[in-house]
Structures are given as structure tokens and as C-alpha cells.
Amino acid sequence: MDPLALDIAHLFAGGLVLVSFMLLYQDRMTGLVNTFALHALVVSLSVAWQANIQQAPHLYITATIALVVKAIVIPLALHRIIVRLGIHRTIEPVVGIGLTMLAGLGLVALSIMVMLPVTAQAGTLAREDLAFALSVILLGLLMMVSRRNAVSQVIGFLSIENGLILAATGAKGMPLVVEISVAFSILVALIVIGIFLFRIRERFETVDIHELHEHRGEQP
């Protein structure tokens, strides 16, 4: 395969990891949502590039879904939720930002050390893509555990999903990728609707997940 094409694919995949790190150190809600929109934009560019070099036109559908749903619609909806609920102030992390970033570095090193040796037969393109994808997934998990706020947890989950789409498109010729990305979009839409419809704020006066634990019902 053309080395330049590979390099560009790696650029996008590596860029996604970088944006995942940017998500980790956001301390404002609006900044977090904007950074997530960038995350989705990078993933959609990456998928579109894969569609181009793999000659797989159906992947353009996945790229378009990622662009429209996750880079435009979801961030807009989240912005509205943030304004409505009045939670645009700062985000309370469970552990400090510096410590989270260090843990993130460790996770990226881990995923590269795990993925590169086992994917030796999978071809260059898939190899690095999978290592990057696993990094994005682990960073998303880290974000979900290191933030208490429901909206940041949702964004953590959405970034995991972007990592999965990166992995699925990197695995050349994988069937059902479009179907899976549609299924995922439904999931995502449900999360956002969930915040709206369940009106976590109105019920709990907060979207701080920590507060929700008071309602466990186990107390007598």
C-alpha cells in the first residue's frame, strides 16, 4: 500500500488519541463538549480516509453518520442540556487532572505493548489502528471512572464508541460495520434522550452521579 496513504491513516488515528487526552484535562462543560465535537470530527475524517484507501464506499456512510450525529447533533443537544440544567461551571474530577493524565499515559503504553505483538499477522494498517483504538477505548474508560458528572460520563462513553469505530474500520473488509455504527448511533441517541427524558436534574437537583447513590434504596 502507498506509504503516504498509511501515514495519513496513522495521522488521523494518532490524532484521535491526542484529542482523547484533551478530553481528559477539560475543566469546563462547554469546553468538554466542544472537544468531543472535535473528537467525532477526527474519527469521521479517519473513517472517510479508510473508505478511500480500502475502496470501501459503504464506509462513507459510517463517516457521514459520525460527522452528522456525533460532531453536530449530539454536541448541540449537550450544549442545550448544559444551558438548561445550568451546569456549565466547572467539572469536579474524582482525582486530580495531573494524576489522570499520568494514568492515561500508562494506559496508552499498555495498549501499545499489548496490541503490537499480538497483531503481527494482521497487516500494518490494522496493527497501529488497533493499538490506537484500544488507547482511545481505555482513555474513555478512564474518563468515565474519573468524572462524577453524568454528562462527562456520557462523553467518556461516546469517545469509547469512537475508538470502536476506528477499530472496526481498521479491520479491513469487516462486514456489518455500517449496521453496527447505526446500532451504536441509536444507543447514543438514547443516552442523550435519557438525560433529557429522565430529567436527572429535576429528580435529583444535580447530575452528580455521586449524589445518586443516596437513592440506592438499601438503607432502611
Binding site: 484500544l134 470502536l164 453496527i180 432502611p220
Partner: protein, 480 residues
């Protein structure tokens, strides 16, 4: 040819029923349509046992999923019968409005559709989508009461379930990559029958990594410790028919996914043996859940932890492998589905009559509500693994077969079972006997599903029909 027809029907019936029920405004008719659709699915599943179509690119019926399909549709049917009387009461007391009822019935059939599709799918990607669909419908149903506790449970279930499902998808992608270099690109590299047939040539390192992700991902949905945090809340806060379906069916479907991937792993001699991983997760679940049983105050949470314990036992059995342990695992899974759903049927009516789920408020049920109280007593005796009920047999079989191969593991498992037995009997004593406490108004329950399940479990403890034994034995050898 008729086989194909039944495969289409078992998917089309719940799908059509879901659409119809979502549109139909009348509550009473909906409950009946729900029952009829669930019964029709059960009929199709039975027909599929005898008549199997050839494996297609997307759907397959083989010996393993036939067992799961029959259990799943049967419990789905009896739960729909229970659900009719349960929901009628919820409507009377105003906990659910007619609009939510429509939603509930539509979701019930969508859940059945998702589970049937997950069991029937011959494609790892399709199975993933189906499991996701089933998860989402249960998330929505858990939150249906919209109390703060229900919303928290739904949210927690949703987040943990989504993370689990994300890990499972990553594992699925890795399996495809492993298969691609042998089978070639395209749908074949995701089909079960092709994967198992060619697994010997797959890259073992890639397969190992994939299995770890799949076990963690689908294991979250099975409710294995330490990934179980969503399960007790989801069981306690949702409508009780959903607790019954979650415990009896959805956990099995997730376990089924693990088993499918286990057979791919087992077909590759160079890959990691999946058994020890499953045995340790299973044993950890049994021990943890059995001790946690003592601290429960909420009756539905008590039985939710008991489900974690039993899923641990089943995972342990399949992890041990070998014809005997697999047989015990299959039998245990079947009987656990029947017993646990029967218990939840009783618990649902009890909670409605007493107006609470706190066990300290519920006493002397055998005096105030003899039919319900004795149903619960029999169910708890069965689930605790006492003879003559069927679960005693499967647990006995598992312990003895484990003892012959790994005595220390058998002792640890036995300890977990005894601890759980103690906790359940302790709770049962105060729930079922003594001076009645709380409301004693009569319950207009449907007792048929409860006693039908308990009758089957009792029957299995006394005498297993040779046809069933032969069938399970055949599946048990296939799983090796």
C-alpha cells in the same frame, strides 16, 4: 423447508407483536396479545428442536442454541402470563399509566425478539447487535417507574452495560481479524460454524486477547463479580416481570455468547484454555454473592444476589468442562431459569400485597397468603439446592465431578453453596413463618406460572426424562 419457516416465525412473531402492542391503546387486550405472541414463539422453538433448517449466513439452529431457545421462549411465555395479572394491579394502583403500559408491552416483545435473534444468530456481529438491543429494552423497562431509585438503577445498568457491550465489540473485531487471515474477508469470517471449523488455524495470541475482552464484556451482562454492580439495582427497581426475565433469560443469553466464543477457543489447541478464567470468575461470584446474601434488606435484591451466585455456579461448571460438568451446567441453567422466575413471580405478588419490598415488613406469609407463601417457600428450598428439587441434583453432580478432578475447587464451591443456603433459609424463616405482619388483603395472583415452574423443577429432581438426558448429554459433549 418448514424449518426455515419456523426460524422466520420465531423472529417475526415477537417483532410484529411489538409493533402491534406499541400501537394498541387497550390494556386488557394487550396483555392477551402479549401472552399469545409469547406462546406462539414457544411453539416455534419446540418445532425447531425437531426440524432444523440448514445454517445460513446470518441465522443458524444447532443443538446448543435449541436448548437455550426452548428455555427462553418457555419462560418468556409463562412470564407474560404472570405479567398480565401483575400489570393489571399496577394499573389499578396507578403506578403505571395506560401510555406506559403500551410502552411496556411493546418493549417486552422487543426484548423477546432481541433474545431470540441473539440466540439464533450465526454471525458474531449480528449477535452483538441483538444483545445490545435486548440490553437497551431492559434498561428502558428498569426505569419505567421513574422513581429516583428506578432512574438511578437504569442509569447505572445503562452505563455498565454499555461499557460491557463496548468491550465485547472490541473482542468481536479481534475475532474477525484472527479469522480474516485464514477464512478471508467477508461474512464467512464472522459466521459461527465457519469460525469453529477453521479455529485451529487462527493466530492464538489474537484469539487470547479477543477472549479476554469478550469474557469481560459479555461477563458484565452475565453479572459475574466484579462486574455485577448493575444487577441488584436493576432487579430491585424495575417491574417484577422484568426481574424474572432478566434473571431467567437475559443472563443466560449473555452466557450463551461466552459459550460460543469458548467453543471457538477450544477448537484452537495453541490458544489459552478458557476454562480456568471462567472457573475463577464463577467461583469468585459464588463466594462473593453468597456472603452478600446475609446483608440484604430488600427482597428483590436478595434474589438478585442469588442470581449472581447461580450464574457463578453455571459459569464455573462450563469452565470446568468435560461431559459431566457441562451436563451439570446445562441442567443447572435450565432449572435456575425456571426456579428463579417462579420466585420472582411470587415476590412480585407479595410486594404488591404488602406494599413494600423491605423484608423486615414481610412476615408469616404462609399464614396470611398460604398459596403465595408456600410457593415462595418451595422456590427458596429449590434455589437453595435442597433435595428433592432438581437444583440439588445439578449442584450435586457438579460438586462430585469437580471433586474427582480438583478437590480444592470443589471445597470452595461447596462452601459458597452452604453459606448461601444458610442465608436463604434464615430469610425464608422470617418471611414465610411466624406471626403475619403487614397487610393481609387477598391477592388476585395467577398461581399457574409459579406452580408450573416449581412442578417442573420438582419433577426434574425426581425423574429426568431419558430424551432430555440424551439431548443434554449430546450438547454437553458438543461443548467440549
Amino acid at each position: 423447508m418448514t424449518g426455515e419457516l419456523f426460524v422466520v416465525a420465531i423472529l417475526a412473531v415477537p417483532a410484529a407483536a411489538a409493533a402491534l402492542l406499541a400501537l394498541l391503546p387497550d390494556g386488557r387486550a394487550s396483555a392477551w396479545i402479549n401472552i399469545v405472541a409469547a406462546f406462539a414463539s414457544f411453539g416455534c422453538a419446540l418445532a425447531l428442536v425437531g426440524e432444523r433448517p440448514a445454517a445460513g449466513a446470518f441465522l443458524i439452529v444447532d443443538d446448543l442454541n435449541a436448548v437455550f431457545l426452548v428455555i427462553s421462549t418457555f419462560v418468556g411465555f409463562t412470564t407474560s402470563v404472570f405479567s398480565a395479572s401483575y400489570i393489571a394491579h399496577e394499573l389499578e394502583t396507578g403506578r403505571l399509566t395506560p401510555a406506559y403500559l403500551r410502552f411496556y408491552h411493546g418493549m417486552y416483545q422487543t426484548l423477546m425478539f432481541g433474545m431470540n435473534l441473539a440466540l439464533l444468530s450465526n454471525n458474531v456481529g449480528l449477535m452483538w447487535v441483538a444483545v445490545e438491543l435486548a440490553t437497551l429494552t431492559t434498561v428502558l423497562m428498569v426505569g419505567i417507574y421513574r422513581t429516583p431509585a428506578a432512574l438511578e438503577a437504569a442509569w447505572k445498568y445503562f452505563l455498565l452495560g454499555s461499557v460491557g457491550i463496548a468491550l465485547a465489540l472490541f473482542g468481536t473485531i479481534l475475532v474477525y481479524l484472527a479469522a480474516r487471515s485464514v477464512v478471508g474477508e467477508g461474512l464467512d469470517a464472522m459466521a459461527w460454524n465457519v469460525l469453529v471449523a477453521h479455529a485451529a488455524g487462527f493466530d492464538p495470541a489474537l484469539l487470547n486477547l479477543a477472549f479476554v475482552f469478550l469474557l469481560l464484556g459479555y461477563g458484565t451482562k452475565v453479572g459475574l463479580v466484579p462486574l455485577h454492580a448493575w444487577l441488584p439495582d436493576a432487579h430491585a427497581e424495575g417491574p417484577t416481570p422484568i426481574s424474572a426475565v432478566l434473571s431467567g433469560l437475559l443472563l443466560n443469553v449473555a452466557l450463551f455468547a461466552v459459550l460460543r466464543f469458548k467453543s471457538v477457543m477450544a477448537a484452537n489447541p495453541a490458544a489459552l484454555a478458557p476454562g480456568p478464567l471462567m472457573v475463577s470468575l464463577g467461583l469468585l461470584s459464588v463466594l462473593f454473592a453468597s456472603f452478600m446474601l446475609y446483608r440484604r434488606q430488600d427482597i428483590k435484591r436478595l434474589f438478585a444476589f442469588s442470581s449472581i451466585e447461580h450464574m457463578g455456579i453455571i459459569t464455573f461448571a462450563f469452565g470446568m468442562g468435560g461431559p459431566l460438568a457441562n451436563f451439570a451446567g446445562l441442567l443447572h441453567m435450565t432449572l435456575h431459569s425456571l426456579t428463579k422466575s417462579a420466585i420472582f413471580f411470587c415476590v412480585g405478588h407479595i410486594a404488591q400485597v404488602k406494599g413494600t419490598q423491605q423484608m423486615s415488613e414481610i412476615r408469616g406469609l404462609t399464614v396470611s397468603h398460604p398459596v403465595l407463601g408456600w410457593g415462595l417457600t418451595l422456590g427458596v428450598v429449590a434455589i437453595a439446592g435442597l433435595p428433592p428439587m432438581g437444583i440439588f441434583m445439578s449442584e450435586f453432580l457438579l460438586i462430585t465431578s469437580t471433586f474427582a478432578r480438583a478437590p480444592l475447587l470443589a471445597i470452595a464451591l461447596g462452601l459458597g453453596l452452604l453459606v448461601a443456603l444458610g442465608a436463604l433459609l434464615l430469610r425464608l424463616n422470617s418471611l414465610a413463618f411466624g406471626e403475619p405482619h403487614g397487610s393481609d388483603r387477598p391477592s388476585n395472583a395467577s398461581y399457574l406460572p409459579v406452580y408450573a415452574h416449581l412442578g417442573l423443577v420438582f419433577g426434574a429432581g425426581i425423574w429426568l426424562p431419558p430424551a432430555v438426558v440424551a439431548w443434554f448429554r449430546h450438547v454437553a459433549t458438543l461443548l467440549n
